[in-house]
Amino acid sequence: MEAFVQQSINGVSLGAIYALIALGYNLIFGVLNVFTFAHGTVVVMGAYSMLILTTKFGVNYYVAMAMGVIVSVVVGLIIERTTVRPIRDNGWAVVIATFGAAIVIENLMRHYKHVPALPVPFPVPFEQSYITIFGDARIAMIQIFMLGVGVVLMTGLVLFVYRTKMGMAIRAVAQSPYIAETLGIDLTKVAVVCFIVASAVGGMVGILYAIYYQTIYIHVGSQFLGLKGLVVIVVAGSGNIPGSLVVGILLGVLEAFAIGYIDSALRDFVAYSALLLILIFRPSGLFGERAQVAFKV
């Protein structure tokens, strides 16, 4: 029972990271209908910038955090301008161009002299301490910190999308880019805003991930975080913010149980087979509308 509670706590923490990635990614994938391989790289850029700024240049912890997010946003904007905007009409070309962009950025990072080649310890904001809640099950202060930041980010994002004029434009573009453009919405502007918000949220999530696991390596974004974000989006149904939240946390808990009770090697298998299984029974995702479904089912 204690193990169960402990795995649930770990699962919710991991799931919060997945949910946040999916929320940011949704603005690119769900709204603009752009499949970018480079989002995971943008996520990692934030964490790496912060790591280098704090350890090599001795910048204040929270200032470095803000600067890491800014670096992520800049990288996201560069990707949008160079590999997405010129070929936005051709979705398949964007997939490959952003794949190339991810390779370029990751290798530039690898050859930058301050970037360590191996997974490195990541600085934490405060000393490790725990709150015991149930038998041996305990919550780390870092988990509480992470969930707190996560709740703030989610609230901000939801308020932005549902309560501002720009958010209304974003929702209009998500429904139909052509009609939105007819009504005078500047698609390029919406795309830029979506990339800025998604990259900022992504950069922050990368930092949270690094703080939570106290380690970071270059390929964690492109090979792990970005992919899990995609899984959450498709399972939840595209463009559904509350759905992404629920599915992200469910996926985290599921993986935590897979690690705790079966085998940690099977964790990805559990996630991907859950995706395929859910798509068999609900092709539009758990909470989605029918946007992603084939014409003739």
Partner: protein, 294 residues
């Protein structure tokens, strides 16, 4: 001596190119019907494992292994049709196929019978240049005739717009089934030849990176003419070898830039709907005065 080494090196790359080309041609068939697939590396891995089990574990002849590879790839395609292709479209389909590829790699790692993470060793190495060339020739001839047949046009109509194709009397279920099983079968042959080329297969050979590379070939080369894939596969296989002349640090960066450059230059692939045309520079050079604007 040096010439011998060079010969072996070039032979090696040519074999790699040929085998990769067959897998990519399978992906091309599926993409002709507008199905963006990241699973063809995984379908090829089914073919590779099928032939490895047949020849190593059961000790049966190689040709049987290659046939089994084709069947395994086609069955994988059949699975993909019923599980995802009938349900999803566009990028969502791509992600689902991607999940299939990822999941399959984990499955391979955890089955003891096929060697787990160590894979299967001692597969007879029989792939030779004439064999690969013959298979490519047969597949190319098939695709050349296929593109011109009414089924090829139905594929292209499905690519353009599924709804309109359906309204024009195209049987979407049949087209998708055909696209996935035929594509999977060709990729399966490629995977079997891959196994017989290097003699050892491991789950790491078929990670998602490989599936993305397979997908890259038709997209870079163009997905409307089969000979476009030849160019795309050339860029992907020969690109790293040509870039080897630069520093190792710059090589990988240039490799990524290469993809971006191709996509910005011709987003629809080098051979797009207009068919083969020379780059603008050459066209300007070759232009005779009477052809150009006055």
């Amino acid at each position: 001596m040096a010439l011998d080494l060079l010969y072996l090196y070039v032979l090696d790359i040519l074999l790699e190119y040929g085998v990769f080309l067959i897998i990519a041609l399978g992906c091309y068939v599926t993409m002709m019907a507008g199905q963006l697939s990241m699973a063809h590396g995984a379908l090829a891995s089914l073919g590779a494992y099928a032939t490895a089990v047949i020849t190593v574990e059961l000790g049966l002849p190689v040709w049987l292994g290659v046939v089994a590879g084709m069947v395994a790839g086609a069955l994988g395609g059949l699975f993909m049709t019923y599980v995802v292709a009938y349900r999803l479209v566009g990028m969502y389909l791509a992600i689902a196929t991607f999940a299939f590829a990822e999941g399959l790699a984990v499955v391979y790692r955890n089955i003891e019978f096929i060697g787990g993470t160590l894979g299967i060793v001692g597969i007879p190495i029989v792939t030779s240049l004439p064999l690969v060339a013959a298979v490519i020739a047969v597949v190319s001839f098939f695709l050349w005739r296929f593109e011109k047949s009414f089924l090829g046009r139905a594929f292209r109509a499905t690519f353009d717009d599924e709804r309109i194709a359906e309204a024009m009397g195209v049987n979407l279920r049949y087209i998708k089934l055909l696209a996935w099983t035929v594509g999977g079968g060709i990729s399966g042959i490629g995977g079997a030849l891959f196994a017989h080329n290097i003699g050892i297969i491991r789950p790491d050979n078929f990670q998602v990176q490989f599936s993305v590379l397979v997908l890259l070939a038709p997209i870079i080369g163009g997905y409307t003419r089969f000979y476009g894939v030849f160019i795309g596969a050339f860029v992907i296989i020969f690109g790293p070898h040509i870039l080897n002349i630069t520093e190792p640090e710059t090589k990988t960066v240039l490799y990524g830039l290469l993809y971006i450059a191709f996509m910005l230059w011709r987003p629809d692939g080098v051979i797009d709907r207009a068919g083969f045309r020379l780059p603008k520079v050459f066209r300007l050079l070759l232009r005779t005065p009477s052809q150009g604007r006055p």
